[in-house]
Symmetry: C2
Subunit: 469 residues, 2 copies
């Protein structure tokens, strides 16, 4: 169990070494590890090898391990006995695609520290936050502990994957195969955000996700709209007609059975949430919007966190270049995703969506579907003991009470940790709403990176001192 003097020395070390921490993050950010695009498979491998080498240099046994897709990394530092807590840290080194590239102010894989419009220092690059910046807060905290005390205050396994952004499809089987090797008391996940710029947070619920692609086909080839316009079925028309009917005028999703099993928020929680400073002014104005677009009989915070949603994430068909082309295309496609809440089963929702589309198909059309991802919603155990320890540590670092929050996003792998490894997860991260993750000009506040490292250093000490989970 570390003493207070050790922790102080570790925190000082973090401050003194911060420029080097940043340089190490930059080295990782320069690797184009876009998991969605097969053209970057080599870069994903490079990122995995780079991280394994770096973590091994801290004295971990670190291995790049193959999966059916991009490789994972398993690294261990368990010099303590079985009576010391053992945490499994999870992060991902893969990043989102960078398009539309022309909206980036700088090349996405050439990280810089620059000034935000309001004067904050920010790190700008694809992955600056999600999840390279976040995972490096933990790695750098471990580095500081090792360098000051020669060891970590508890047993740590670091587990990093390369397919989070594409649904972690091969990671579930990977956990199953390496189960024995991944034993721990609980999991730490650093892929979430703060409540606001000054208030640290622990995320205790996550929405689930179903991501489907639909392709509608009609004629056996592209057609001239002069010759065939009026008589030939146009798959873009069919697609827009079907997708345009997914919501009613009040923002409710119209798929039969979609809301089955979804519970209303308890009145006391709803009252608490209604009192929070979560308003269109604080949440939507920064992104140029003013009116919540979801179910119009729900609080905005319900729309964002506790209600299921349906979004069209991409649509494509026909001629989309410059100018005009009078074509009726042979096919049109869309990517459609659903955020799920407790009580909704991903397989049931996917089937209901597909039935909805198929039911509305007119003559001469077929629909094909591709399953991209599926994961149920997660509600974490608010009473797990490490949570209390982490809450205290975060509060000490930030000088403001850490809050427990729900998240509208999905981290499907958290369900697998419970199901396959039998482990609860603690979700702590330092992202902010304006980080532009998945968007052009992704950034991570320099303060998030710095105080994130310091936070983990404190949390590790707190775990070592706390009763086991």
């Amino acid at each position: 169990m570390p003493d207070t003097g050790q922790l102080s020395a570790v925190l000082e070390r973090i401050d003194a070494d911060f420029d080097n921490s940043l340089e190490r993050l930059f080295a990782l950010l320069r690797i184009k590890s876009i998991s969605a695009d097969p053209a970057f498979a080599g870069d994903c491998k490079t990122a995995a090898e780079h991280l394994a080498r770096d973590i091994a240099s801290l004295g971990f046994t670190a291995e790049v391990r193959p999966t059916a897709g991009h490789p994972a990394i398993v690294a261990k530092s368990n010099g303590h006995g079985d009576d010391t807590p053992h945490v499994l840290f999870y992060g991902h080194y893969d990043v989102q695609p960078v398009d539309p590239l022309d909206l980036w102010h700088r090349p996405p894989f050439e990280p810089v520290v620059t000034d935000h419009a309001d004067g904050r220092k920010i790190i700008v690059a694809r992955g600056a936050e999600d999840d390279k910046g976040q995972l490096m807060t933990f790695v750098e905290a471990c580095r500081a502990w090792k360098s000051v005390t020669g060891s970590l205050p508890l047993n740590v396994t670091i587990l990093l994957e390369g397919e989070e952004e594409i649904g972690s499809k091969n990671f579930g089987p990977f956990l199953e195969t390496h189960k024995a090797d991944l034993a721990a008391d609980f999991v730490l996940v650093c892929d979430t955000g703060m409540w606001d710029r000054d208030t640290p947070a622990i995320t205790t619920s996550l929405r689930g996700l179903v991501y489907d692609e639909v392709r509608i086909k009609a004629a056996n080839r592209d057609l001239h709209s002069g010759v065939y316009g009026g008589t030939a079925r146009n798959p873009i028309r069919v697609l827009t007609r079907i997708l345009g009917g997914l919501h009613d005028d009040n923002g409710h999703i119209t798929i039969p059975g979609f809301y089955n099993g979804v519970k209303d928020l308890p009145a006391d929680i709803r009252a608490q949430w209604a009192a929070l400073d979560f308003t269109p002014e604080t949440f939507l104005k920064p992104i140029g919007l003013s009116i919540p677009a979801g179910e119009n009989d729900r609080l905005m915070i319900e729309q964002a966190i506790s209600r299921p949603t349906c979004d069209i994430n991409g649509i494509f068909g026909g001629y989309t270049g410059e100018g005009s082309k009078t074509v009726i295309p042979a096919e049109a496609s869309a990517k459609v995703s659903f955020r799920l809440v407790e009580g909704q089963d991903p397989a049931t929702i996917r089937a209901a969506f597909r039935a909805f589309v198929t039911e509305l198909l007119p003559a001469d059309c077929t629909a094909e579907f591709i399953d991209h991802a599926g994961a149920p919603a997660i509600a974490l155990d608010w009473t797990m003991k490490p949570l209390a320890a982490a809450k205290v540590a975060l509060t000490e670092e930030w000088g403001k009470d850490a809050v427990l929050i729900g998240s509208g996003a999905s981290i499907p792998i958290v369900a697998d940790f419970k199901k396959t490894l039998g482990l609860d997860s603690l979700l702590i991260g330092f992202g902010l709403d304006d980080d532009n993750i998945h968007s052009p000009n992704e950034k991570y506040d320099l303060r998030s990176f710095h105080k994130g490292i310091r936070s983990w250093a404190r949390i590790l000490a707190a775990f070592a001192a706390a009763p086991r989970a």
Copy 2:
């Protein structure tokens, strides 16, 4: 006035020289003159220069003349006096874009003669029919006349443009500027089709066209659908909802006022059309469809020729690459076109469409529009004298009565010929419904090219012998 012996010699010359005609067409087809894409502007210029050089070699005075866009060509052979008829031949050297490229069986700009599945010989390349193959039927007919008799049987001006596929926007002003220089008795346009493989046709009506692009914008950047899903307006959802409402369940267009001024077909014409062999079996089955998709209270031939239509020619928004990305994009766009009939004004229809979109825009969204093209429907003068002469010439060449037909397609420039030059147009072409124009694997029947040249040779002689228009 040519004698019958001259015409016979010209036709023999065409047959004997056909391999060379084909080689000259191939040389033109190899030039990537895609007008829609600025990357191919140089190729458009090359095509114009190539054609001017070739036509000059026949003894025309041929000039490449600049427009505000891709250049035009004006070539003249008017050795006859004013008492000889003077025709103005119109064609276009620009072609449609080639995407989706992976559906072409061969590179689109490497022309070949190959066998159609049913044994017909076909020329395959982008532009093989539309309009390089068609315009070269006229040029080759002139070449044969010149080479056999040393002159053409009447005065000919050849006028070729490079922006037909993008709406001929700069060609109207060009006609205005060069008006005095383009005097003639009437216009010949070779950009239409036959009734069927054995039956030549003269097209006497054309639908008009309005082509608009709409871009809907919401947030000021792309958003993460986990964080913002449910609260942030999704422009793809907005776009599909609006476009999905353009038609009702019966296939009628729902834009207020859209059908104002559209006349019902006279009962006798409707009865004649109903008796034609124009059925889903003959027209839709070859393209893999079986049920007409237009207004369900109209004959299929009305849907194809005499009724206005609305089609979505392209749609784009969000992530459309491989795999998945949980993004709510900042914008989404679509290209929407309308085929118009007599009684509809393009400007009114465009304004009605834009009002329809704007009316349905929810809070926080804006719509931007781009005008790509607009032209009214055209009904030609069925009683013009050259039409009778051309009908006889076509009937002699094909051994089957030439028919007068309406076309569902649009050739906006025909209206400009009337308005600016005061000239009627005669629309004769040798395309077939299965030519895949605007689609992958565009083709032109070798027979269309060969008998097309022979047809023009006969038509020129017939005009010279006929009374003036």
